[in-house]
C-alpha cells in the first residue's frame, strides 16, 4: 500500500462521526486537565483509562491520545497565566511565558504557543506516517533477544533522567518492575506474589497502578489545600493577534523545536515532552544572538519548547505502536489500553489493524486542527478554568478513581487494592520515589523478563545470543555507553545550580 492509500484508510476511519466525537471529547478533556494545575496529564489519562475500555478500540485510543496532546496544549496556559505549569512538560514555558504576561503580552504568548503546538504536532505526525511502516516491517524479524536489549536501553535511559537520588531512582524502577511481574509467570505458569488471590493471577491492572500512583497520591497531596495565585491578566481576542514581528521571530524556533521534539520523542525512555522542551530551550538559547533576553519574555523561549513538547508527544507513538515498546509512562498507559482491548502492540499492528493505526494517525491531525480552531475563541474559557476551587475538584476525582477502578473488572477487590497501594504510593512519593519511571518499569517488567528468559530458552542458556544478533548488540552497546556517560558525567563537578 502506498502512503496515499494508507491515508485514505486513515481518513475514512478518523472522519466517522463516532471517532470525531471521541476525538473532540479527548482533546477537550485534555485541554481542561492540562489547564488545571494539580492534575497532570498522567493523572488525567489514568482517570479516564477505564472509560476507553467501553469504547471500540480505535475510538478509545483516539480519545486517550487526544487527552494527551490536548493536555500539552493546555499545560502551557497555566504556565503563561499564573506561572504554574499545568503539566511537567510545560514547566519550561513558565520561564518566558509568565514574564510576557507581566509585560501585558499574555494574549500574544497564548496564541504563539498554540501555533507552535500545532506546527510541532503536524511535523511529528508526518514523521509518524512516513517512518512507521518501514520500521514495523523491519521489526517483524526482531527476536526476543532484540526486544530485550531495546527495552533494557529504554529502562537505562529512564533511569538516567531521574533527578533526585540515583539510589531511590533505581529502587523506583525496581519496585515498578516487581509490581509488573505479579501474577502468572508466562514462562512457567507459576503464580508469583499473588498470595493465593485469583484476582491477582493476571497481575495488578494497569488502571490500579496508575490510579494509585497518580490519582490517589495527587488527591492526598492537594485535597483541602487553599490555592493562592493571582490571576490578573485579561485575555481578549484582540490581544491575541500576533504582530508580524512576533511571527517572524518565532518561525525558525518553532521549526527547530519541532525537529528536536520529534527526535527526542522517538527515543525509548527519553521521558517524552519535558526532556524535549528543555532541550529545545537550551538549543534556542545557545543559537540566539540575544541570549540575555531568555527568561525575560523571549518569544523564542516559548515557541521552541512548546513546538518540541508537542512534537515529542506525537513521535512517541512511533516506538509504541510499531515495536510495542513504550518510551515513557504515558505511552505505557496507551500500551496498557491496547492490551486490554486484546491487541498485542508490536510490528503486526499496522498490518493487522490498518484502520486502527492509520485512523489514529489521521485523528492526530484532526485533533490538532480541532485544538487550533477551538482554542482561539475559547481561550477566555480555558483561562477561567484556573478559578475552579479545589474543594469541588478532589472529592470528585476520588469518586472517579473508585468507580473507574471498580469498572475494570466489576470487582471491589481492585478498589481495596487501589486504597492500599495508593496510601503506600503517597508515602513512597513523599520520600522521593519517582512514580513515572515506576510506571514504565511496571509495564516493561514482565516484557523484559519474558523476552530475556525466552531468548535464553531458545539459545539453550547461551548468553552470547544477546551479542550475536546485531540489533540486540547495537542496543546493548548503546545502553552501556549511556551508563558510562552518566557515571563519568556525575564525577565532573557541576557548575549548574542545583534543583530545588
Amino acid at each position: 500500500m502506498t502512503v496515499v492509500d494508507n491515508l485514505m484508510v486513515g481518513l475514512e476511519t478518523a472522519l466517522t462521526f463516532q471517532n470525531l466525537i471521541y476525538c473532540l471529547i479527548g482533546v477537550t478533556v485534555g485541554m481542561v486537565v492540562g489547564v488545571l494545575p494539580g492534575i497532570g496529564h498522567l493523572t488525567a489519562i489514568s482517570l479516564l483509562l477505564p472509560l476507553t475500555f467501553y469504547a471500540p478500540v480505535t475510538a478509545g485510543l483516539v480519545m486517550l491520545a487526544g487527552i494527551y496532546y490536548g493536555a500539552q496544549y493546555g499545560g502551557s496556559i497555566a504556565s503563561i497565566m499564573i506561572n504554574m505549569p499545568g503539566t511537567a512538560s510545560s514547566a519550561v514555558i513558565c520561564l518566558d511565558g509568565y514574564p510576557m504576561t507581566r509585560q501585558g503580552k499574555a494574549g500574544t504568548a497564548l496564541i504563539i504557543t498554540t501555533i507552535a503546538s500545532f506546527v510541532g504536532s503536524c511535523i511529528a505526525i508526518l514523521l509518524l506516517i512516513m517512518l512507521s511502516p518501514p520500521l514495523a516491517r523491519a521489526a517483524l524479524s526482531f527476536h526476543s533477544a532484540d526486544y530485550f536489549s531495546m527495552m533494557a536501553l529504554g529502562l537505562v535511559a529512564a533511569g538516567t533522567l531521574i533527578q533526585g537520588s540515583k539510589f531511590i531512582g533505581a529502587a523506583s524502577v525496581a519496585v515498578g518492575l516487581l509490581l509488573g511481574i505479579v501474577g502468572t509467570d508466562v514462562s512457567s505458569g507459576t503464580m508469583r506474589f499473588t498470595f493465593g488471590a485469583p484476582q491477582l493471577f493476571d497481575g495488578i491492572s494497569i488502571v490500579v497502578i496508575a490510579m494509585a500512583f497518580f490519582g490517589v497520591t495527587e488527591v492526598m497531596t492537594s485535597i483541602g489545600r487553599v490555592r493562592d495565585h493571582a490571576l490578573n491578566a485579561k485575555v481578549t481576542l484582540r490581544s491575541m493577534m500576533p504582530s508580524r514581528k512576533d511571527l517572524a521571530e518565532s518561525r525558525f524556533p518553532i521549526l527547530r523545536g519541532s525537529a528536536v521534539g520529534s527526535a527526542v520523542g522517538i527515543l525509548p525512555g527519553a521521558g517524552g515532552g519535558s526532556m524535549a522542551a528543555f532541550m529545545a530551550y537550551a538549543v534556542e538559547k545557545r543559537l540566539s544572538r540575544t541570549p540575555e533576553k531568555f527568561g525575560n519574555g523571549a518569544i523564542a523561549g516559548i515557541s521552541a519548547p512548546e513546538a518540541a513538547n508537542n512534537a515529542a508527544a506525537q513521535s512517541a507513538f512511533i516506538p509504541t505502536l510499531t515495536l510495542g515498546i513504550p518510551g515513557d509512562a504515558i505511552m505505557a498507559l496507551i500500551l496498557g489500553a491496547l492490551l486490554v482491548h486484546g491487541i498485542t502492540p508490536g510490528p503486526q499492528v499496522i498490518a493487522d489493524s490498518p484502520e486502527l493505526f492509520w485512523g489514529l494517525a489521521v485523528s492526530f491531525l484532526v485533533g490538532n486542527f480541532i485544538l487550533l480552531i477551538l482554542n482561539i475563541p475559547l481561550m477566555g474559557v480555558w483561562v477561567r478554568l484556573l478559578r475552579i476551587p479545589p474543594t469541588y475538584l478532589f472529592p470528585a476525582i476520588t469518586l472517579f478513581i473508585a468507580v473507574g477502578v471498580y469498572s475494570v473488572a466489576n470487582i471491589s477487590f481492585d478498589v481495596f487494592l487501589v486504597a492500599g497501594l495508593g496510601l503506600i504510593a503517597y508515602i513512597m512519593v513523599a520520600f522521593g520515589f519517582e512514580p513515572a519511571p515506576l510506571l514504565l518499569g511496571y509495564v516493561l517488567g514482565p516484557l523484559i523478563e519474558e523476552n530475556f528468559r525466552r531468548a535464553l530458552l531458545i539459545s539453550r542458556g547461551d548468553f552470547m545470543i544477546f551479542v550475536e544478533r546485531p540489533i540486540s548488540a547495537i542496543f546493548l552497546v548503546l545502553s552501556v555507553l549511556l551508563v558510562i556517560w552518566v557515571v563519568m558525567g556525575s564525577r565532573t563537578p557541576k557548575t549548574e545550580t542545583k534543583e530545588t
Partner: protein
C-alpha cells in the same frame, strides 16, 4: 454435593412458582471470563444480542476477566440455577483448568450443565518459510531425526496452542521444545520471524503471514479438513492418530438449571446461529457458528477433559 442438593431444592422451589413457564421474565446475565475483545467476548455479545431479540428480555454480557477464568467461572458456579445467569466457557475454563491446576475454586464438571456450543475456530500447524520441511510428513521425519531440535511457540502455559502440539508429540512420539509467548499474536509472529520453527495457531490469526508467504501451513488439528483451507491435510491423515481439537466456545448454566429452560435456550441458539447476519459476524472473526445438541456438547467435554488430563500428565505441565 451439598451445593448440588441445595441447587436442586432451589430449582424445585423455583419451578413451583411457575418460573419456567414465563422464563425469561427479567434480564439474563452472561458471565464472560475474558476482557472485551476477542472471540469469546464476541460470541457472548452476538448470542446475547440474538437471545435478547428472540426472548424479548435484556441480556447483559458481563466481562469478569482474570484468574485463568476462575473469577467468572466461580461466580457462575455459585449463581442460582434459574437460567438467569449463564456462563460463556471455552476449552481453558471447562476442560483444561481441572487438570492444569491442583486446585480450582469451581468444579468444571459438577458445577455446570451444558446449554450449547456457540463457535468453532479451527487450528492449524504452521512452519517458518525457511524451515527444512514443507509438508507434515517432512516435519515428522525432521522431528524424529533430531529429537529436541524443533521449537514451537504457544500463547502461554496450558493454552490450547501449548496442549495441541504436546498432544501431537504424544501421539506421534516426537520430542519438540516449547517456547511460551504471551498471547496468540506474538506466538504467530514468532513463527513468521523464524524465532521458533513451528506453532499451532488459529487460521484467522495467521492469515496475514500465510498470504505473505512467511509461514507455510502443514496440517490442521481438526478431525476433518477445514473450510478456509481445504487443501490442508488433517494430522490424522498425516499419520498422527486421534488428534481432534479446535478453539470452541460454549454456553453453560449452573448445575441444577431446569431442563426445560436449557432445551429452550439450546434450540433458540441454534436458530440464532443459523441467521446469515450472525454467521457473517462470527466468520469475520475467524469463528464458524457451531450449534450442537446438549448431549453432543456433554460428550465433547467428557472426551476433551480425559484427553487433556492425559496430555498434561504425560508432558508434566503444571501451574502452581
Amino acid at each position: 454435593m451439598k451445593r448440588l442438593l441445595a441447587a436442586a431444592i432451589a430449582a424445585i422451589v423455583a419451578s413451583g412458582a411457575a418460573a419456567q413457564d414465563d422464563y425469561p421474565n427479567r434480564a439474563i446475565t452472561i458471565l464472560v471470563p475474558f476482557a472485551p475483545g476477542g472471540v469469546v467476548d464476541l460470541a457472548s455479545r452476538t448470542i446475547g444480542e440474538g437471545l435478547s431479540r428472540r426472548l424479548g428480555q435484556e441480556v447483559i454480557v458481563e466481562n469478569r476477566a482474570g484468574g485463568s477464568g476462575f473469577i467468572a467461572a466461580t461466580a457462575a458456579a455459585q449463581a442460582d440455577p434459574d437460567g438467569y445467569t449463564l456462563f460463556m466457557g471455552e476449552a481453558g475454563t471447562l476442560t483444561i483448568n481441572p487438570s492444569l491446576f491442583e486446585d480450582t475454586p469451581y468444579d468444571a464438571e459438577a458445577d455446570f450443565t451444558t446449554v450449547s456450543t456457540i463457535t468453532d475456530t479451527p487450528l492449524i500447524l504452521v512452519a517458518n518459510k525457511n524451515a527444512d520441511f514443507k509438508t507434515f510428513e517432512e516435519f515428522l521425519a525432521a522431528a524424529r531425526a533430531e529429537p529436541g531440535r524443533i521449537t514451537y511457540s504457544s500463547a502461554g502455559i496450558g493454552t490450547l496452542n501449548h496442549l495441541a502440539p504436546e498432544w501431537m508429540a504424544m501421539e506421534g512420539d516426537l520430542d519438540i521444545q516449547h517456547i511460551p509467548y504471551k498471547g496468540g499474536r506474538p506466538a504467530a509472529t514468532a513463527v513468521a520471524s523464524g524465532e521458533v520453527d513451528i506453532s499451532v495457531v488459529s487460521y484467522s490469526s495467521t492469515k496475514p503471514f500465510i498470504d505473505s508467504g512467511d509461514v507455510v501451513v502443514l496440517a490442521t488439528t481438526s478431525a476433518e479438513r477445514i473450510d478456509p483451507s481445504p487443501d490442508t491435510p488433517t494430522m490424522q491423515e498425516g499419520g498422527v492418530p486421534n488428534i481432534d481439537t479446535s478453539q470452541w466456545t460454549g454456553l453453560m448454566a449452573p448445575a441444577g438449571t431446569p431442563d426445560s429452560i436449557l432445551d429452550m435456550l439450546n434450540s433458540t441458539i441454534a436458530e440464532i446461529l443459523a441467521e446469515p447476519e450472525v454467521a457473517k459476524t462470527l466468520t469475520e472473526a475467524g469463528a464458524a457458528p457451531y450449534p450442537s445438541s446438549r448431549a453432543d456438547f456433554d460428550a465433547m467435554l467428557d472426551r476433551l477433559r480425559g484427553q487433556f488430563a492425559t496430555i498434561i500428565e504425560t508432558a508434566g505441565i503444571s501451574a502452581q
